[in-house]
């Protein structure tokens, strides 16, 4: 649609601008201010320069949390995206099954995040949880409270359980937009199931898949509540992701300076990712 050039449209955007500025710009400015100062409370601040940033960039704790976060994001993507596509391909296209599937599948998305954590905290326990009990009954030693590997498995399974539906819904939305005629043509040609997927379904899902990958990457990069409830970042520090580390510093110890420096670095990374996301999306749309 060709849009008219009209700078008065700014007035329509004004409410949003004021609202978001209040809840985004002022806090961000505050973070910048804190990040160069030290405080002992009571709003008394001392100039600290770039000390916090230097400390942060040379601390192994920060880089370990970052590495864990990246590994986590990549595992999540490698599982959720193929699984999501597979399930979406097998969803019914019409009939009573569609609303039932959609509603049931979207259910995990609507559970408050800490309740998701609680559900899995209970479900995985080897004394009172269905999963933990039967996995142990099978002879596999599984205890997410003590074993870092088990903790990772639990958190990854939980995230797959929680978010695969998002990928399914996105892919499904892409799939239903394919006209029936395409499938009929393929049928007449005797195209294999793979050919149908490769040449008809995948190209149609391109855009939504891109959205799914980027959304899942960014959301898993800032995951906080669910692993915090399940493992509290432990055992040891094995599941301490960036957000968990940040909240520990900021609200647990109330170390304003280091927390602000960490927030800023974290935010810059997210900003870069968002920009990549936005650029890829808009250019993809423009190409079409």
């Amino acid at each position: 649609m060709d849009k008219t050039w009209n700078n008065k449209a700014w007035f329509l955007v004004l409410p949003v601008l004021v609202l978001v500025a209040f809840s985004a710009v002022i806090p961000l400015m505050t973070v910048v201010n804190y990040s160069v100062q030290d405080t002992f409370g009571n709003n008394v601040f001392f100039w600290a320069g770039t000390e916090w940033f230097e400390e942060l960039l040379s601390s192994s704790r920060f880089w370990e949390a970052m590495t864990r976060n990246l590994i986590f994001s990549f595992i999540i993507l490698a599982i959720e995206v193929p699984l999501g596509i597979f399930i979406a391909l097998n969803m019914p296209k019409k009939g009573w099954g569609v609303p039932v599937c959609l509603v049931l599948m979207a259910l995990p998305l609507l559970i408050p995040w800490n309740v998701v954590g609680t559900i899995w905290q209970v479900f995985g326990r080897n004394d009172i949880g269905l999963l933990g009990y039967y996995v142990n009954a099978l002879g596999i030693d599984y205890n997410y409270v003590q074993d870092p590997f088990d903790a990772w498995v639990t958190i990854i399974v939980m995230d797959v359980w929680h978010w695969t539906s998002l990928v399914v819904l996105l892919c499904y939305a892409g799939l239903v937009s394919i006209p029936d005629a395409f499938y009929q043509a393929a049928k007449i040609d005797g195209a294999s199931r793979w050919a149908v997927f490769r040449y008809i379904q995948l190209p149609k899902m391109n855009r939504v898949l891109l959205i799914a990958v980027l959304l899942r990457f960014m959301d898993s990069f800032m995951i906080y509540t669910e692993p915090f409830v399940v493992t509290g970042g432990g055992p040891g520090n094995s599941t301490t992701f960036l957000s968990i580390d940040l909240v520990k510093t900021a609200l647990g110890q109330f170390d304003l300076g280091p927390a602000a420096a960490m927030s800023l670095v974290y935010f810059l990374i997210i900003l870069l990712l968002s920009w990549v996301f936005y650029t890829v999306m808009t250019n993809y749309d423009a190409e079409r």
Binding site: K3, L19, V20, I26, I119, L130, D189, S243, V247
Partner: protein
């Protein structure tokens, strides 16, 4: 859209060219059998979704199961269904003010946030969908970054900000804080729906002498009613599931139910049954709203502005 269709069609044709020789070599009966086999395959379509849904529902079932058990039963042995079903846990929640007020608090700030977000987003989305203006693309991008920003980054400054304004532990504080990610979300969803409305409708209305506010409320909003519904749904959803900021900004009077739950978890002597019952009750609002928007969920997600 047209371009994409063409490209896909061309791809499909390439695919067909490759299989053409094969297809013509097959006799008609072969082709029939092939097609029948594919028909048979589709009779088993329900297996994968059903398995997936069972996996999704198992942990939820376990929570519901636990909520109807007594603590003694939970701790003593693993039972697949409550042998001595009790609604005691729910009774506790509905009679103890510190529990049920959590629900009231959560719903209060979620609804406030929904109203504020959608009301502010409506004119902005209209501006983005109809006009070009100075810096529009960058403004749009800036909104996106707020949707993507980690709540952990904002938890601390929010606490300081709302303390300074004396808004800590009020519903409006949480509602305003959640606007950070819900307003951009609402703008994007609504913009997507508004772009689908032909511009001629606006022009005709202006020619007929409608003023902008009257046109917007009387003609335009009914046209995008489903979009408003979807935007409300997503605002509800993200405000409902968010805990970090809500917990940071509240202490007692506006404490969300989710935070009430964490407090009980850390208390000495886990009351598993009560915890499970509280968890089950948090599932209900989500399940209800999702039923109302079931036909639009897929579309809402696919707009790519979530």
């Amino acid at each position: 859209m047209g371009g994409a269709n063409e490209r896909t069609e061309r791809n499909a044709m390439n695919g067909s060219a490759a299989t053409e020789g094969l297809a013509s070599a097959l006799s008609h009966s072969d082709l029939d059998r092939r097609m029948r086999r594919r028909g048979e395959e589709s009779r088993w379509w329900w297996i994968v979704p059903t398995l997936y849904i069972i996996v999704l529902l198992l942990p939820i079932y376990w929570l519901i199961n636990m909520s109807f058990k007594t603590n003694a039963e939970i701790v003593s042995s693993l039972t697949l269904y409550p042998h001595a079903p009790t609604i005691g846990n729910y009774v506790t929640i509905f009679t103890d003010a510190s529990w049920y007020s959590g629900y009231i608090n959560s719903i209060t700030y979620v609804v406030m946030n929904m109203v504020i977000s959608v009301a502010a987003a409506l004119p902005a989305a209209y501006a983005f969908s109809r006009y070009r203006f100075l810096g529009d693309k960058h403004l749009f991008f800036w909104l996106l970054t707020n949707r993507m920003a980690p709540p952990a980054v904002f938890a601390l400054p929010f606490f300081q900000l709302y303390s300074a304004f004396g808004l800590i532990d009020t519903h409006i504080a949480v509602a305003l804080a959640h606007c950070l990610f819900n307003v951009p979300l609402a703008v994007w969803i609504l913009e997507g729906f508004m772009s689908g409305v032909p511009k001629e409708i606006d022009e005709t209305a202006y020619i007929d002498g409608y003023s902008f506010p009257r046109f917007f409320v009387r003609i335009f909003m009914p046209l995008i009613a489903s979009g408003i519904g979807v935007a409300c749904f997503f605002c509800f959803m993200f405000s409902w599931v968010e805990l970090l900021i809500a917990r940071t900004l509240t202490t007692t009077d506006a404490k969300p139910i989710a935070a009430t739950m964490t407090r009980t978890v850390s208390a000495a002597g886990m009351d598993w049954g009560l915890l499970a019952a509280a968890g089950v009750l948090t599932l209900i609002p989500g399940a209800l709203v999702i039923w109302f928007v079931r036909n639009y969920i897929a579309k809402g997600f696919a707009l790519g502005r979530v």
